[in-house]
């Protein structure tokens, strides 16, 4: 009897390892930025001429949401973000990530002014139609700020605390579960501190 216990234990261990391994999403890469200051930038916003930088929001907790009109998964989370923006005091800042895609430049490359104009027009139309959850949105046309934030798939959402430190990162659309069980408790925690 004892002879079978060791292989059985080994097998059970293997099953546990595999079960845990299969449940994990290989696309979810832990961000080294959590616990670090949010990378600084200064980018034009969707409306107005004033550029925005994260330092402007020092002293308050805010969400930083990476989005684009071409991003299908962003539409999935959009109604939830709109709903959230109505009820909560935490502002959401949008990062319009690479709004201008290769397909937009099929008839020759656009210059930076034209790119920004087209991106603004299309983003505004999108937000007018589906609701605007963003306090403001910054335009990252070449995706360089995205690289600084370790963006590798849109949408992504960051929680930034009063000191400007990233406290949480979520990759993929924000679901009601993520909002209820992860974002909201963390927002409460960092608002209190």
């Amino acid at each position: 009897m004892k002879k079978f216990l060791i292989p059985l234990a080994l097998f059970m261990g293997l099953v546990v390892f595999l079960a845990v391994g299969l449940q994990r999403d290989p696309r979810e890469i832990p961000s080294p930025l959590v616990g670090k200051p949010a990378p600084a930038f200064s980018l034009p916003t969707l409306v107005g001429d004033q550029p925005f930088s994260p330092a402007d929001f020092k002293g308050q907790v805010w969400l930083f949401n990476v989005w684009a009109t071409w991003c299908v998964a962003c539409r999935e989370e959009h109604p939830l973000l709109v709903e959230f923006s109505k009820t909560q005091s935490v502002p959401i800042v949008g990062l319009s990530y690479k709004e201008i895609q290769a397909a937009d430049q099929a008839n020759g490359p656009l210059n930076d002014t034209d790119k920004l104009a087209l991106a603004r027009e299309r983003s505004l139309r999108f937000l007018q139609r589906l609701g605007n959850p963003y306090k403001l949105s910054v335009m990252d046309l070449d995706g360089s700020v995205g690289i600084d934030y370790g963006v590798y798939g849109v949408p992504e959402t960051y929680l930034i605390d009063r000191q400007g430190v990233i406290r949480f990162k979520h990759v993929g659309p924000v679901t009601p579960q993520v909002l209820q069980h992860k974002l909201l408790p963390l927002i409460r925690q960092w608002e209190a501190s």
């Binding site: 290989p26 080294p32 995706g143 360089s144 690289i147 798939g153």
Partner: protein, 153 residues
């Protein structure tokens, strides 16, 4: 059977051919050969985060293109390879490296397989010694005599 083998061979040949074709597609923007040469070496060591089993050098994903551009920019800023890797690890984590750094967190990854091998060899050695003892024990004097007599007939 022969036809099966032939089909398999053709399939394999096709797959190899396609691979070389694909590899040829990723063409660097050769504005500065020195930068491109360094990029080519570095990009092999860096992982594309979208298509996770491809290196930056071989990936066609848009993010890979952006990251190649970023690495080019860093090379032009005269950063060393190690500095460039650190720069990317700070943003994307160890995952971006194809060969993760050897540090306490990655020890299981680097040495785990060897530890398992040592354990398996030890187990095998113990099992074999145990079995040998069993075999020797089972051949008692009486058994031996019986075997001898049987063999004689």
């Amino acid at each position: 059977m022969k036809r099966c083998l032939l089909l398999l061979l053709i399939g394999m040949w096709g797959a190899i051919g396609m691979n070389t074709l694909r590899a040829g597609e990723a063409q660097p923007m050769a504005d500065d050969p020195k930068v491109e040469a360094r990029l080519a070496v570095l990009a092999e060591e860096l992982r594309c985060l979208v298509c996770q089993n491809e290196s930056l050098a071989s990936s066609h994903a848009e993010l890979a293109e952006d990251l190649r551009r970023e690495v080019r920019k860093l090379i032009r800023q005269d950063m060393t390879d190690a500095q460039i890797k650190t720069h990317l690890v700070e943003r994307y984590g160890d995952f971006v490296l194809y060969r993760p750094a050897v540090k306490p967190l990655t020890w299981p990854l680097w040495f785990g397989p060897f530890a398992l091998l040592v354990l398996a060899v030890w187990g095998l050695w113990r099992y074999l010694r145990h079995r040998k003892a069993l075999v020797i024990q089972r051949m008692s004097e009486a058994d031996n005599a019986q075997a001898q007599s049987l063999l004689k007939d």
